[in-house]
């Protein structure tokens, strides 16, 4: 069975049983496919305004990519906890 973290990247039939994302619903899966593009481009452009050397740009972009991803994942977790334990059935 695939790890829950990579489950949302799989076809709906494979991850529908995963508890973390089950409440989001397969109909909304495409929404999350757009976020990696946003994270990558925002990290790279922001870092390119901080440095002129490509090596420094990529290093900083990697760090910002991690921060943004962690931020988005934390929001997903908070929403899941609220949905699961406070307003869930």
């Amino acid at each position: 069975m695939p790890s829950p973290l990579i489950v949302p990247l799989l076809p709906a039939t494979d991850w529908v049983a995963a508890p973390l994302f089950a409440q989001i619903g397969p109909a909304h899966l495409p929404f999350y496919w757009h976020l990696p593009l946003l994270v990558v481009l925002v990290s790279l452009v922001y870092s390119a305004t901080r440095h002129d050397q490509w090596s420094a740009i990529f290093r900083e972009a990697f760090r910002w990519g991690l921060r943004l991803t962690a931020f988005l994942v934390s929001i997903v977790l908070v929403l899941w906890i609220v949905a699961r334990f406070f307003i869930g059935p």
């Binding site: 109909a27 929404f31 593009l37 946003l38 925002v42 452009v45 390119a48 305004t49 901080r50």
Partner: protein, 193 residues
């Protein structure tokens, strides 16, 4: 008493306002004009990718300035300011440059007019209420993510403009060249002999 090591100074930045204006018009154009071609092209591709991909996600109906001040103007703002207040997304989208100008054109010349105008047709025109309701009713959150992409593209371009005007936030330190270093020592050696 310890002596402080001489600080490595970076040369003062001369502001390049022309490059800033160019980067406002077309993202990265200012950097290209300064000779930073790779970075300029990178900004151009990235900002336009975000902006137009966002428009695509929003069915090409999420960059516009509506004329709603007559209906909603709680702060009694001037007409155009009230319209921006009613759709603050455009305050961010505007900074992407000429790519958002069709919205200004449509706002000025085709307010609430459903006939296609010359050249750009209905591109970036305020959608009519029926169409907006249909999009909201039949779409999912992807449409909302679309305008987020376009706003982020515009706001990121403000940083690109700043980079064109004043350079990157962290500039590489200018190391003294070996020739410059060597000269005083050589002079001392010569004086010693």
């Amino acid at each position: 008493m310890a002596t402080a090591s001489p600080a490595i100074k970076t040369p003062p930045v001369s502001r390049d306002w022309t490059a800033g204006a160019l980067s406002y018009l077309v993202p990265g154009m200012g950097q290209i004009s300064q000779g930073r071609v790779g970075k300029g092209v990178f900004f151009l591709v990235s900002i336009y990718a975000l902006f137009f991909y966002g428009m695509y996600l929003g069915s090409w109906k999420n960059v516009y300035l509506p004329d709603t001040a007559d209906k909603t103007n709680p702060w009694r703002l001037p007409h155009t300011l009230a319209n921006i207040y009613n759709r603050p997304q455009f305050a961010g989208q505007f900074w992407v440059g000429v790519a958002a100008w069709p919205a200004v054109w449509q706002y000025n010349f085709f307010k609430n007019n459903n006939n296609a105008g010359p050249l750009i047709g209905e591109f970036e025109r305020q959608p009519n209420e029926t169409l907006l309701n249909d999009l909201e009713r039949n779409g999912d959150k992807t449409r909302d993510l679309g305008w987020v992409f376009t706003v982020i593209a515009g706001v990121l371009n403000i940083m690109v403009i700043y980079d064109a005007v004043a350079g990157p936030a962290y500039r590489a330190s200018v190391q003294p060249s070996r020739e410059t270093d060597a000269k005083p020592a050589d002079s001392a050696a010569v004086a010693g002999h």
